[in-house]
């Protein structure tokens, strides 16, 4: 911390902390003790409470497909985009791998794994069917 940084400055962004967890194979989310609710996307204050002391937690990585769409770009293979309801009670956008896109169904149980893009982009969470 240099002299231009105040004592109250955030040591790291929520996004950096989220990605740091991903680099260790973990899906992290926040918990707001003031509301008793999980928080996602990560942020610096609790939605609805203004609490600036959110806790970071690590998800079990297990969830259920809440909604699904399959995108069919011209000249490219179709791919799915899903909303996943995690067992801890937060929702995130993602995709399901290891299954044909049209076979991804609402209600499917899934488990997180970290996707590390080959092009040097940051890691992000994807999902596979829990049974697989």
């Amino acid at each position: 911390m240099d002299s231009r940084t105040s004592a109250s400055a955030a040591p790291a962004s929520p996004l950096a902390i989220f990605r740091d967890h991903l680099s260790r194979g973990e899906l992290a989310y926040q918990y707001d003790p003031a509301s008793g609710r999980p928080v996602f996307h990560p942020r610096v204050i609790g939605p609805g409470t203004g609490n600036d002391d959110l806790q970071w937690r690590v998800s079990t990585g297990k969830g259920t497909i809440h909604a699904v769409t399959v995108i069919s770009p011209r000249g490219e293979a179709p791919y799915n985009v899903v909303l996943v309801d995690m067992d801890e009670g937060f929702r995130l956008m993602s995709r399901v791998e290891g299954l044909a896109p049209e076979e991804v169904r609402i209600g499917l149980r899934v488990r997180m794994q970290v996707h590390q893009p080959q092009d040097g982009q940051p890691p992000y969470p994807v999902f596979r069917p829990e049974a697989a």
Partner: protein, 386 residues
């Protein structure tokens, strides 16, 4: 917006106009289209630019649209507003304009919009905010968000792709009665289902058009309105609700903030869905029409698909919906709400030509913004309602 701050019937929309629509002449800018629409809307009510003392503008093609429009028009208004909550900004601007007029901050408000997204290329004018938690999955902005909501509606309520297609078919039938509609030929359910799949369950025919276009509305006090050329469309009720920004944060994918914005507008108007003669809702996608028919009380939650399945919202059906042909078949320059209001005004005035709803005294104009994120409702009425 606390609708208790607003007085039912205290203001009216007195002038409306489109700019050129569809694919406009090369080089016309969004401001040119705002200028065209402004000029035509002023002519519609018999006012001049010198009468305008409140300016409300928005577009996705300018960072400071109200400022840009004031320079273009050469006016320094007493009151201004640049609300941008997406395609329903204009409904909210009607409410904000009424508040300013009631408070004496201005007397004649111009609400304007212009877009050249077809000429300029949609990807150049409607880029989403970068969200690192969603961008890696490459959802189509905004179609995939609506597709996710549609998937939930189909799962929970048994809504079918054929029922969604009926919304597009009804919109097309209305568009064929509108001389300025972009689409000129009939459409069948099979054509919707067989069209290129964009983001399942939505084909390109479940999605709004990509056109150029602008629009303008003139709002003034009821007293001033009584002196003008056309019958006033009195503002009977307004309501707004913001529920989320990203689809991931929508509280319930099958229930929109129209439930709240509509309830507020009905309460202010002292009317309910049964009292509405013409229904104009922002049909960005076929699913949005179903959601708004449900959330505004025209059919029970979950019944939207079955409600539209037999032509109920098409010409000759039990409920006239999107009588201009909607964003699906008339025009959709990106922020369509201003056109929804325009059609509601024309129906209340009785000047909608072959698509006129007989004896129309009341109309609801419901707008949507973002990814089902913002909802704003305006209820308008003719002289018999005030």
């Amino acid at each position: 917006m606390n609708s208790q701050a607003l007085k039912r019937g205290a203001c009216a929309i007195v002038g409306v106009a489109e700019s050129d629509l569809g694919e406009v002449a090369a080089g016309l800018s969004p401001l040119d289209l705002m200028g065209q629409a402004t000029s035509r809307a002023l002519r519609d009510c018999g006012l001049s630019l010198r009468d305008v003392d409140g300016v409300f503008a928005t577009t996705s093609q300018s960072r400071m649209p109200t400022l840009a429009l004031c320079e273009y028009l050469g006016i320094a208004p007493r009151y201004h507003d640049g609300t941008n909550i997406g395609g329903c900004s204009f409904m909210s601007m009607v409410a904000h304009a009424q508040l300013a007029i009631q408070a004496g901050l201005c007397e004649v408000a111009l609400i304007a919009y212009g877009s050249t997204q077809r000429s300029a290329g949609r990807s150049n004018v409607a880029a989403p905010d970068v969200n690192p938690y969603e961008a890696p999955y490459r959802p189509i902005y905004t179609a995939s968000s609506y597709a996710l909501a549609a998937s939930r509606h189909m799962h929970q309520y048994g809504t079918t792709r054929e029922q969604l297609a009926q919304v597009a078919v009804a919109a097309r039938q209305w568009a064929l009665l509108n001389p300025v509609a972009w689409e000129k030929t009939p459409l069948t359910v099979d054509e919707v289902l067989g069209a290129r799949m964009l983001s399942h369950p939505l084909t390109v025919r479940d999605c709004c058009l990509v056109t150029d276009g602008g629009g303008a509305l003139i709002v003034t006090s009821a007293a001033r309105a009584a002196t003008l050329r056309k019958p006033p469309a009195y503002i009977l009720g307004v309501g707004e609700h913001l529920s989320h920004y990203h689809i991931t944060s929508m509280p319930d994918l099958t229930v929109t903030g129209a439930a709240q914005s509509g309830a507020a507008a009905y309460a202010m108007a002292g009317l309910g869905p049964r009292d509405i003669d013409a229904v104009q809702v922002y049909d960005a996608f076929t699913i949005t029409t179903l959601l708004f028919l449900e959330d505004l009380g025209f059919c029970p939650k979950g019944e939207g698909g079955r409600f539209v399945a037999d032509g109920a919202i098409a010409p000759g059906g039990s409920l006239p919906v999107n009588t201009n042909g909607g964003g699906l078949s008339y025009c959709h320059p990106g922020m369509y709400g201003v056109f929804v209001l325009m059609e509601a005004v024309r129906q209340v005035r009785g000047e909608a030509g072959r698509r006129q709803v007989a004896g129309c005294e009341t109309a609801i104009a419901h707008g949507n913004g973002g990814t089902l994120s913002s909802q704003s409702t305006v209820i308008l009425g003719g002289a018999a309602t005030v």
